[in-house]
């Protein structure tokens, strides 16, 4: 149940890609900038590569609802291969958008979206991550993309607050913090409508 000021986001990824971490990070940062937040994963079989879903609710008042999200405003897809097996746009609200991690253009992706006609954004998060961190962690790039596309948080405030969260999250490997911050900035510039 969404009130008018609430933004609901659904993440689709595969176990190990960091959808849960991106979702919880978004909740944490949105909480820091004064929003009421929920970030929660839905677990299926616990194994690397299995499809997983995670959810965010972000609003100006505390949300008492603790069910999954069935009619999201935004959908983020971390793994393009999920488009073949999961109906990722199911329930996506009019006026919302889907963001897909892919090197392909929107024209190539849209036919895979089962008749979806709403807004579509693409970002090559894998390329960004491999270029900057040398490994494929698409989650932080897509986190910046969804913040940019949804406008749920002011981008500069988001970037400012997330650094503190990174310092906590990556306490044992601080060398990746600068790279992740660079990914966020580049992703917010490179995400494009298609």
């Amino acid at each position: 149940m969404a009130n008018k000021t609430m933004v609901e986001i659904r993440w689709h990824g595969r176990g190990g890609q960091g959808a849960k971490m991106a979702c919880l990070l978004l909740a944490e940062v949105a909480g820091q900038v004064g929003k009421f937040v929920q970030g929660f994963p839905e677990y299926g079989p616990e194994r690397m590569g299995a499809p997983i879903t995670a959810y965010n609710r972000i609003s100006d008042t505390r949300c008492p609802v603790h069910s999954n999200i069935y009619t999201p405003d935004y959908v983020v897809v971390l793994d393009e291969t999920l488009l073949d097996s999961v109906d990722v746009t199911h329930g996506l609200r009019d006026g919302g958008a889907i963001i897909v991690n892919t090197p392909s253009s929107g024209e190539v992706i849209r036919p895979k979206l089962r008749g979806y006609t709403g807004a579509l954004y693409t970002l090559d998060a894998r390329h960004l991550s491999e270029e900057i961190l040398g490994r494929n962690f698409p989650n932080t790039a897509l986190l910046a993309a969804v913040v940019k596309v949804s406008g749920v948080l002011e981008l500069e405030a988001f970037l400012e607050h997330i650094e503190a969260s990174f310092r906590k999250k990556f306490a044992t490997k601080p060398q990746v913090i600068a790279g992740n911050l660079e990914i966020l900035r580049k992703a917010s510039e490179e995400v494009m409508q298609g």
Partner: protein, 396 residues
């Protein structure tokens, strides 16, 4: 301090603030993060707790029992089959009057094996003699855990407390939370100073000796009196917490019940979801409300009777199947609580949410629709049913 934490992290943080003497630890999903976070606090030296890793939950509870009998403030966390494996020792803890505090992160029991939320695990322990408090969200999980020490340790109670939250739904969801300052928490829970304990040299005693029929029943009656006495103590501790936090808690929480004709009775995170439905239906002019049961042991029988006597139709929602063949545990006790009223509402039972089956605002609305029909026609239909069942033979 205002921040955002998952339920598990909030409870681990409360443990850190309390700095108990002993933790008996054995991991099980979805409670595993609690000993994980706490082990980090131990490794960082920010707590002085003796962190005892064990080979099973039977042993982690045994560690707590031994430590508590020796006079130490003891904590534990578990879920599902872990709580089931502790079952024997839960009775020993309660009957030895040891105020251990256990974080129970509710999860379905096997089989079939399932890691998701329902209340089968703690409902299976409902007769073990523990106080049971259930949280709707991470804030309540944190507050209940802190209050548990003062409730259990007080001399007129001296009972262990199970502070429950919904697995994954609450334990793994990051939400806003207001944390108390550590000095405030420490001042609130104080130092645990039991009158009697194993290692007290002025008054050595035996704990857990054989009890013949000459006194066994007297001991059980004392336990029964203690759990009755805990009701007043729970309310008193809640008042003390309100004074430092501004957050108010009772044995039950009534939402829009003043003039409600149709009502739900339920436990845990689903109560939050149902509140949204109640508010929505209220805006449409319907006289609906809900009662959230926060404390299941001791059972708030008088409070439920008082809250429900003026309603026309009530649905009790059970997130556990007790295989009685005639309703879940919350239904059985709620119906019993209403029996002595001169005029009772119509009562039905829906078992829902087993093994993580989602409960939505639509689910709650559909129950109110059925209650409206019952109130109008006086026909209850089947009193005991299961919510959202697939048609037999359907694979989708």
């Amino acid at each position: 301090m205002k921040t955002a934490l998952s339920g598990n992290e909030a409870v681990a943080y409360a443990m850190k603030q309390i700095n108990p003497d002993v933790m008996g630890a054995f991991p099980i999903t979805p409670s595993t993060e609690i000993p994980e976070y706490f082990a980090q606090y131990v490794a960082d030296g920010v707590v002085t707790t003796e962190f005892v890793t064990t080979e099973s939950e039977h042993s982690s509870m045994s560690v707590c029992i031994a430590a508590s009998a020796a006079g130490a403030r003891s904590v534990c966390a578990t879920s599902s089959c872990g709580l089931a494996l502790m079952h024997e020792m839960l009775y020993v803890a309660a009957s030895s009057r040891l105020p251990i505090v256990l974080a129970c992160v509710n999860r379905a029991l096997s089989g079939p094996i399932n890691i998701n939320n329902d209340h089968s695990d703690s409902m299976g322990s409902r007769d073990a003699g523990w106080i049971q408090i259930y949280a709707e969200n991470n804030q309540e999980a944190y507050d209940n855990f802190i209050m548990s020490f003062l409730i259990g340790e007080t001399p007129q109670v001296r009972l262990p407390v199970m502070a429950c939250m919904d697995g994954f739904i609450t334990s793994h969801a990051v939400e806003n939370i207001e944390l108390l300052d550590t000095e405030v928490v420490q001042g609130f829970v104080g130092t645990y100073e039991p009158e009697h304990y194993l290692l007290k040299k002025e008054n050595p005693l035996a704990v857990g000796p054989y009890d013949l029929s000459a006194f066994y029943m007297e001991h059980k009656v004392m336990q029964a009196e203690a759990i009755r006495a805990s009701k007043a103590r729970i309310l008193q501790v809640a008042e003390n917490l309100a004074a430092i936090s501004g957050r108010h808690y009772g044995l039950i929480e009534c939402h829009q019940m003043e003039d409600a004709e149709l009502a739900l009775v339920l436990i845990g995170s689903s109560a939050g979801t149902a509140k949204a439905s109640v508010d929505e239906l209220r805006q449409m002019g319907q006289k609906v409300g809900l009662v959230k049961v926060r404390v299941f042991r001791p059972f708030p029988a008088e409070e439920l009777a008082e809250a429900l006597y003026h309603t026309k139709a009530v649905a009790v929602l059970d997130k556990a199947e007790s295989f009685s063949g005639c309703g879940g545990p919350l239904f059985a006790e709620t119906r019993s609580a209403l029996y002595d009223l001169p005029q009772r509402p119509q009562l039905i039972n829906l078992v829902y949410g087993l093994g993580g089956r989602d409960f939505t605002t639509e689910s709650a609305r559909s129950v109110f629709e059925r209650l409206a029909q019952i109130a109008e026609t006086g026909e209850t239909g089947p009193r005991y049913a299961h919510m959202g069942q697939r048609t037999r033979g359907s694979a989708t």
